[in-house]
Symmetry: C2
């Protein structure tokens, strides 16, 4: 079974990728034995996988209990977070208890943030069930909730102790969410691996048909990229910011339309194309490459046209994003296909042009 | 001016102790120039020192703005924390902006936790204005808010970038709060410095008369102890737990009576005496030493009798505290006067006897 190691010294951990992992107690750490384990999930995922995970935990000697939350980005807020804290406190969870986040990106981010804050930090395990969470949010320790004025504004860096990616969960994933996850897969090709981009161009049709072998390969390659980037820059002081390609535009879309109207991956897809167009305006990327990116996104059934909100509204929302530095917008752009760079030197009028597309 | 360095590698920082520090821009870091700085304070402290601090910040080239919260432990909760987040987001604060916590332990803990979470972490400066905050909570990076089921249940380890202790602020401190802070000063003598305990016995009368020279000396010695302990064990995996002498009993008092009825330091004082009595029951501490501790606490005008709540209620509240490990109460006890140890081997019946006094 493919395993990726995230080399973070005393916070190092493994990402296991394979089939049937949720039902196999062998992948769970021995220290769970005798411990209370909170399984945080949502109303969509719990009916599918909660029982399986609880049985594995019991087989590992743990005492699992469930915290089932409403599903959706709209619930990634204080109120829902507090429901996790209440349940942990009522069950007398301790610093040594473990939290399992079983679900997509919202559950992983919010469960992870709860684990970061409860008693100033408890261990947690990521069991991502969406492609997006598997290739992106479950790896790297970024946890957060949303604030009315900005996405992921309140959060922490808190690394999981283990990530279990069970490919079987993708069989129940709605097609729209498969596409949304594919946006983040494509991102790795764009920012640092032109070969992977070509591989995705060649295989996107089969990937969208859920070919298990190819999906496992894509997830493995994506996780390896993410692990390398995170190991080099855990707290996003430098190169980790490249992972935000398309995200400043994307967050503006998500916030502007209201969380959950567009999926995160959909907003990132449209945002990546805006970043590509801006890179072309700056003379870095040829039109042919912008068109290749657009074609690959379309093959992954992703939106390539951002919603109409007016350039000024976009800029206003982008200024609220975390990627502002000394008052200047800091964007991730493409120097070439497969090589991203950080830039805070682009004039806002130029950005507005790319937005208007 | 005495300075204590907290040796935490890339998170190292200085604690400056002296008079007139709040009105002196020279102690502020150069990187504040041109930056937005949020000064978090409360309705009691703001009228006394907010203007002074804002003028110093302006003199250092920063753009300060104030977030003034209601005063008291009862407000150390989500609702108040969200007021800080709202203000930071409305003012477009970035990861590079700085938060200043100007006030006592509640402001320091809550301001620090806001800084830990806002955009996953922004720098913050502690300007503690109570003796308790100066000798304890402002140093070491423990930040938190309360949960209805337990004190400081939700929080983070987030080190300040600087601590400025202006002794002049003690002139406006209510006498009851001077006493409460003195409980934490006495604690350092009890857990690791018998000499300091003797020095406090000799000087308590003058300290309570606010002798500036002696207060500066006491704060310096307390901060040096705290800095040494934190540098050796930042995240409370081991020896840092010794700082919790009296705190498990104390938190039970605070939670049992409702936050704010007893001051934290008062609860710790009564709790330390309970721990001393328990240590005596175990045959570690002679009665004469328990009596010396009681006399010193009384000289600092601190309560030495815990409120009547019944031993079972105490134990129930203590089981909810963060200091539970594998389901056993973990207490800090005194092997001798000046030497604390961690123990999770004490039978609950024995603890109940110490509670009944």
């Amino acid at each position: 079974m493919p395993t990726v190691n995230v080399a973070l010294g005393e916070r190092a951990y493994s990402i296991h990728i394979g089939r049937g992992l949720l039902s196999d107690a062998a992948y769970l750490p021995a220290r769970l034995s005798g411990q209370a384990v909170a399984v945080v999930s949502n109303e969509t995922v719990a009916p599918l996988y909660l029982q399986t995970v609880q049985e594995s935990l019991r087989a590992a000697g743990a005492r699992p209990f469930a915290i089932v939350l409403p599903d959706g980005e709209a619930y990634k807020n204080w109120q829902t977070l507090n429901r996790i804290f209440d349940a942990l406190a009522e069950r007398h969870c301790e610093r040594g208890s473990t939290l399992v986040a079983l679900g997509g990106g919202v559950i992983g981010d919010m469960g992870g943030f709860a684990a970061a804050c409860y008693q100033r930090g408890m261990p947690f395990i990521q069991m991502p069930t969406t492609l997006l969470a598997q290739v992106d949010s479950s790896v790297g320790g970024k946890t957060a909730i949303n604030h009315p004025l900005g996405k992921n504004m309140i959060g922490a860096f808190h690394q999981p102790s283990l990530v279990l990616i069970d490919i079987d969960t993708l069989s129940t994933l709605p097609r729209r969410e498969l596409s949304a996850g594919m946006a983040e897969v494509i991102k790795y090709g764009l920012i640092r691996d032109a070969d992977f981009f070509c591989w995705l161009e060649a295989n996107m049709q089969k990937l969208m048909a859920r070919d298990q072998t190819l999906l496992a390969e894509a997830i493995y390659r994506a996780c390896r990229h993410k692990a390398e980037i995170v190991a080099a820059d855990e707290r996003e002081q430098g190169a980790r910011a490249l992972l935000n390609l398309g995200h400043t535009f994307g967050h503006a879309i998500e916030t502007g339309l209201g969380y959950g109207v567009w999926l995160h991956g959909e907003a990132v897809a449209a945002g990546m194309l805006m970043a590509a167009r801006l890179s072309m305006q700056l003379g870095w990327l040829p039109l042919a490459d912008v068109e290749r990116i657009e074609r690959l996104l379309l093959a992954a059934e992703l939106p390539v046209r951002a919603p109409e909100m007016g350039a000024e509204r976009y800029l206003q929302l982008m200024r609220h994003d975390k990627k502002v530095h000394n008052g200047r917008l800091r964007l991730i752009l493409l120097e070439s296909l497969g090589k991203a760079v950080i830039s805070d030197a682009v004039h806002e009028a130029e950005i507005a042009r790319a937005i208007q597309g």
